[in-house]
Symmetry: C2
Subunit: 856 residues, 2 copies
């Protein structure tokens, strides 16, 4: 079957499948290349040739048909794009069928089987090439089915079908195999160019220019004497990735009907002789090593002799994918770098949280945004108080709120999951829940919450009361009644092995955003390089502290304010001691107070009244103060360093707490702490200068009082566009710049995270934004500001450390961007750390230009 | 007195005052240069020399004293910095005084006068050189005063003073005139270097390196026989700039006591012979032409002979300054370019609004931010309704509100002035008031408004009720009781002549921001080049429209919404017809709807209830909708093009109204309208693409319906940092980009205008921001974004028109920046147009490198 001899032009229009590596996937498609590889491995692949992308493209435009040496049996035509997911017409079998082949095959496999093959040929060819409706063939197909093995009846059906073909196609059945092939190849080429096919494959990432290869392959006959039929086989469990044979076999059929992978056959391979089964299993094993991936093969058995007609990667869950690549690397089938590059980092979340068992029935009664992944089951609690009461009795709850505020933090800490009616991916509930690793669904527009009545009502009128058992699926954004079966997290084994390999490869640091000891411990469990963002404000919301904090805010005089701060100092110091001890010498970046003060005041009349009582001042005074502090655009108001400049006592207290805590820990511990103090929301250099002077003074005072030296590092959070533009100034006198990309995105777009939910979905769907810029860093806008800032910062201070803290730190494309931008680390919520570690490793590998091969 | 002969080194340490232009102000100071110029004009300036900056600097550090040829009379030493406002020690008179001079002078002017001169010498020298307290000389000065013309008594005082000097100075009186000069010169040099002096002059814009020249000048003797004494004279009215002699003369005194300019003498020149007076007036006229400015001279008359001892620009109000330079240019004393460069554009506001007469007594009871200049008197109205009721009776009111909302617009339209308790320069009240040219004071923290009680209470307990007569001074930010006298605006004469010259010079367009026909007419009166920003939303607040607008917002279905829009269409079309007619073919840029929809809903319970009644729907439904539309950060929310993308029917209605109006006007008018449609709050190119497609479609439909062609221009408002960064994309398919620097500043800084008031003053005072970035464009941050955008925009589309609309369009430094950035026009509120026209002219002149000279 070789089309020619001697050294071939690498752009040969036609190449034989036994030409090995010359059958390149980028010229002939993935299917052709894989079949050639299996052929080279000595596996029983029926002989055939592949037509190149260029050749098919020319055929689609009426170009000449190359000479294809045809076998003297029936043959199949299969699509072979560069990536399997890009589609192409399904295989056309039984080409070459005609009067001559009918005679020949009748002799070999009997008239009935031969006629069946020819019936299939006419129907398939008619549909593909002449666009004849499948339904036109229905009656004849039913008659064929009824005829069973009655050759005479089948022959009548065959004649009727040829007549039907002639009617519909306007021409008699083409007896010439070469003419059949040419017509079929042109039809497949045209179909590839149809707009719908184009759109479909572009949705799978295909470029505009994606080409189609074609495989012309001699058929093994699945119909006939002995053990004949079609089947498929793989040797891994699609759910877990563990070794486990799964497959199916259907005797006297041309296709394994469970052909859509995923439903890996229940039927098993019972119909096959043991020798055949063993040969097939051996073939899968050799294909796995040879192709460097766990595969599923489609095979045909002809009188007991297996033939591999197709091969594809075995379907796999996220967890299975990790197990598979780690096993492949450990047996040397692929290198560790390749293993790292094969895993989509985001899929690692499947390891981190319980998931609803894919096999379990789902009684979904509400749908929203999956804001924090994983499944959680519990009884509905409509308030933080209810959640805490239930927690006291060790009852699992799902906290259900219109939206959450800082006052709900305690409720969130004890709940198993959080469900809010409003909000998007970056609402308060979503951010906190991700930090806590707590499953969370937000923005459930089709549920109605009536807190007064204590009811949650679905669109179809189902009413759930407090205490009702529900499950939320934070991965898919669903709310389910009852308690479906779940699968537990899996953090050991292949998962941790892969991440160890990632750490050996990456040169981008991965830190965590953690505000509490619990979160810091989580971060340690995920093997972070430090804490990149510790938001001190969350520390103030604990019951005994919020009152002191409020006294500080409502203080009328500097003395009163200082008295409150003096009470807060030991509490903050205690927090930091604990954090430093947990992090055991790893860097800890503490952000000074950031939110506007009104966030710490009660939101409702009732709370204000209670506060006034507690402070023994008139409620009118408290209300007036709350009103005076209220802001039109809190995001752009009196917060961050603006507090530090205008009310310096707060930052001084925090700095003192940090330095005293570090000295305390350094006296006890082996690994010394070098605390990092970060100034938020800077927009002008002078803000840094003023705050730095005061912090340096506090440091000097504390060191003097304690009689020890304490190195520390002062840095600036770059989260306004102006800070990015002025990064040169900011870097000159500081140790690090950390890009706060949540706020930087808000300000670059002029878009509030809290308010964007209303139209973000529509914006992304309509392609106004390629992606939600709060999920994946906007490289063209925000990214340019980061590049400008990084360049200017390094120019002025070559030692400056550059980091990113924010949601984007756990988004793989954003992490890759950070590597390209030359950042030193990213910092993300603890549960995103594994994703970031893998993404950082991939970024390093990609930067090395995919040198590939094992690094072990 | 010439120190040498031949060609002099231009850096001579000592130069004679009769060396003309060689006495350069940048080497010897302004006073020396001006006196040399008057000498060259042949005016009677006593002879003398000047010491250079370098020489004085060396003296201050103990360097050598150059040889100064001394006259055989007494002489004076005067400071001569490069700019008069930079200060320096006051003149030291009567140097050279000693036993020998006493003898000589006694012979010429009598013993008593001679002794008085010598007493002055010892006191002045003692204070300056030896730092002796002025008070130490007090008793002796009183004895001298009592001695009157008793020479013997004066001689005793003189002896006592010499003794006192020796006691305090630790050395006898230095008889050598050269020694006196050296000591005095060194003392003046040291004083120039004192930190306090340095700070003081830096506040007036002096650079760190500012030098001091010294003038050593023979004295004319003001004491003695005949008409002798000191005085000053100028020939312009300091308040109006009109020709009018003003001066004073004090016989037998060495200094004209009204020496501090401004209090130009009431006394007149009665003590002088007419010939002397005429000579002095002629001298002022020659000096005016020679120095190219209206001057005031200080003179001494010695026995009827006048001597000019000092010359300085005549003090002048903002209005006077314009009259003076226009007169100077018209007589050819200076060129028109020079006249344009001499006027601080901001001072033009004095022409535009009534001002409180500087002479009137001020009963100030509250102080805030002067948000819109001018004085207004009226009776207090605590609500828009009250203001409208009063207006119906033609009663002037001052609208007094906690802060204003769009619902107050009607009240603002009828009030004479606006006073709000809260807000800053860019609050709603401030922005609207400036647009209306309405005096406005905001953020009056020391007044307490109790709307329920109907009282406004001052910090010291004065209570003002509705109807009380008050005056606000929007220039100075004061609230006054009663009705002080005011000065009327003055827009003709020199003011309009100067602006005509400005228009001939400038190449930067000046447009106005105008939303209503009234504002558009104002803009035409100020001779604008077009409207750069017409905000359509203000058109919706009129009584009959707001209800329809609210129906549109609360519509449940697209059909309901369209019905409301169909009602709004003819209203908007009518607005635009009127605007286009007023602007008579000048460009009109109409911004499509920008604010979030909730701004159009009533703010309070009561209003919601009324709305529900009017629409015959449950109040709960209205409230729920209002709540659903509420935003956490409205500035960063669902507004601008985000409305256009998600609710396209609104923009379509507006586009139709614009195009239909333009065609209507074009059918009638001579000058054809080319409407400019502007899309607000863009952050991504695709937003423009989507909106542009719809607007182009509307345009095509309207043109088809009307059967005429209508050219129009579509542009984008660049007001998010991302739009600035992506300006290349945005410019590719649009006709203009207009920088909305109000919002761009907010987003670049992460700073809400509405909320910044709380700390902006502190930030500016402490130098955190050099200036309020909402007043004067932040060149380093926002400015860089504009430069980036302008460059990228022009690269992609060389024909793109670039403009700026916003508060900064009326700020002179910002206007200069726009010229440098290569923008085509600025657009500001109508009352800032004159400022912008002059600033634009100055920018062009500065760009030409101050070629100077007359352009007439």
């Amino acid at each position: 079957m070789k089309p020619g001899e001697g050294i071939r032009d690498p752009r040969d229009a036609v190449i034989a499948l036994d030409d090995g590596d010359a059958v390149r996937p980028e010229a002939y498609g993935r299917r052709a290349a894989d079949l050639a590889r299996l052929t080279a491995l000595g596996l029983p692949v029926p002989p055939g040739v592949a037509l190149s992308f260029d050749c098919t493209a020319a055929l689609g435009e009426g170009g000449p048909m190359p000479v294809v040496p045809l076998p003297d049996r029936l043959f199949a035509l299969r699509a072979s794009p560069a990536e399997r997911s890009w589609g192409g017409a399904s295989a056309l079998l039984n080409l070459g069928a005609g009067a001559a082949s009918l005679d020949r095959l009748t002799g070999r496999i009997g008239a009935a089987a031969a006629l069946r093959l020819h019936l299939g040929a006419v129907s398939g060819f008619g549909q593909l090439v002449h666009g004849i409706d499948a339904e036109s063939f229905d009656i004849l197909a039913k008659r064929a089915f009824a005829a069973d093995t009655d050759a005479a009846a089948l022959a009548r059906v065959h004649r009727a079908m040829l007549a039907l073909f002639e009617d519909e196609a306007g021409q008699p059945w083409p007896e010439d195999p070469a003419a059949q092939l040419e017509a079929a190849a042109r039809a497949m080429a045209r179909r590839w160019n149809a707009p719908s096919a184009r759109l479909l494959r572009q949705a799978h990432g295909a470029p505009d220019s994606a080409g189609l290869g074609l495989v012309v392959q001699q058929m093994a006959l699945a119909l006939g004497p002995g053990a004949s039929g079609a089947g498929h086989l793989q040797l891994v469990d699609s759910r877990t990735g563990a070794g486990s044979a799964a497959g199916g076999f259907r005797p006297q059929r041309q296709r394994a009907d469970a052909g859509k992978a995923g439903n890996v056959g229940q039927g098993g391979l019972e119909g096959l002789p043991e020798k055949t089964r063993d040969a097939l299993a051996a073939a899968v094993r050799r294909a796995t090593i040879g192709l460097g991936d766990a595969v599923r093969i489609d095979f045909v058995v002809e009188d007991g002799r297996p033939a591999i007609v197709d091969v594809a990667p075995a379907r796999r869950s996220g967890r299975a994918a990790v197990k598979i690549v780690v096993d492949l690397a450990n047996v040397g089938a692929i290198g560790r770098d390749e293993a790292l590059l094969r895993i989509e980092p985001r899929s690692l979340v499947e390891h981190l949280h319980p998931q609803i068992d894919p096999a379990a029935p789902r009684d979904v009664f509400g749908t929203g945004v999956g804001a924090s992944p994983g499944a959680a089951t519990g009884r509905i609690a409509f308030s933080s108080e209810a959640a805490q009461a239930a927690a006291a009795q060790e009852e699992a709850t799902i906290l259900v709120r219109p939206e959450t505020t800082p006052e709900d933090i305690r409720g969130m800490h004890v709940a198993r999951g959080v469900l809010t009616m409003r909000g998007g991916m970056t609402s308060h509930a979503a951010v906190i829940a991700r930090g806590l690793g707590l499953p969370c669904v937000v923005g459930v527009g089709d549920l109605r919450l009536d807190p007064a009545a204590g009811t949650l009502t679905s669109a179809d009128g189902r009413v759930f009361h407090e205490g009702a058992l529900v499950t939320i699926d934070g991965t898919r954004g669903q709310v389910l009644a009852g308690a479906p079966a779940t699968i537990a997290p899996e953090l050991g084994g292949a998962f941790s092995e892969l991440l160890d390999w990632a750490d050996a490869v990456r040169d981008l640091g991965v830190r965590a955003n953690a505000d509490t000891p619990a979160e810091a411990r989580m971060a340690r469990d995920f093997a972070v390089d430090g804490l990149g963002l510790c938001r001190t404000e969350h520390m103030f919301f604990e019951a005994e502290r919020i009152t002191v904090m409020r006294e500080m805010i409502l203080a009328d005089t500097d003395a009163e304010r200082q008295a409150a701060l003096d009470q807060l100092l030991p509490m903050q110091r205690g927090d930091f001691v604990e954090l430093f001890e947990i992090m055991h010498g790893l860097p800890v970046t503490i952000r000074l107070l950031d939110p506007p003060l009104h966030e710490f005041l009660p939101q409702e009349e009732e709370g204000l009244r209670a506060l006034a009582e507690a402070m023994a001042i008139p409620v009118a005074q408290v209300s007036a103060r709350a009103r005076a502090l209220a802001e039109v655009n809190p995001m752009l108001g009196m917060r961050g360093v603006r507090l530090g400049v205008t009310m310096p006592a707060i930052y001084e207290m925090q700095a003192r707490a940090i330095f005293e805590a570090a000295i305390t820990v350094n006296r006890r511990a082996v690994a010394p702490v070098v605390p990092e103090v970060m100034i938020p929301l800077v927009s002008a250099y002078r803000e840094v200068e003023l705050v730095k002077a005061r912090i340096d003074a506090v440091a000097a005072a504390v060191q003097h009082e304690q009689g020890v030296a304490l190195p520390y590092r002062l840095g600036v959070m770059v989260e306004t566009p102006r800070a990015a533009l002025r990064a040169g100034d900011l870097a000159a006198s500081t140790a690090f710049l950390s890009f706060g990309t949540n706020d930087l995105t808000q300000m670059t777009y002029g878009l509030s995270r809290d308010d964007a939910g209303r139209f973000m979905r529509e914006y992304v769907n309509r392609g106004v934004f390629h992606e939600d810029p709060f999920h994946s860093l906007d490289v063209e806008g925000v990214g340019e500001l980061i590049l400008i800032a990084a360049r200017r910062g390094r120019e002025r201070n070559p030692d400056i450390v550059l980091g990113l803290c924010g949601e984007h730190g756990g988004d793989p494309p954003s992490v890759r961007f950070c590597k390209v931008a030359g950042l030193d680390y990213v910092s993300c919520s603890p549960f995103r750390v594994p994703i970031a570690r893998l993404a950082a490793a991939q970024a390093s590998l990609l930067a090395k230009g995919r040198e590939g091969g094992g690094s072990a």
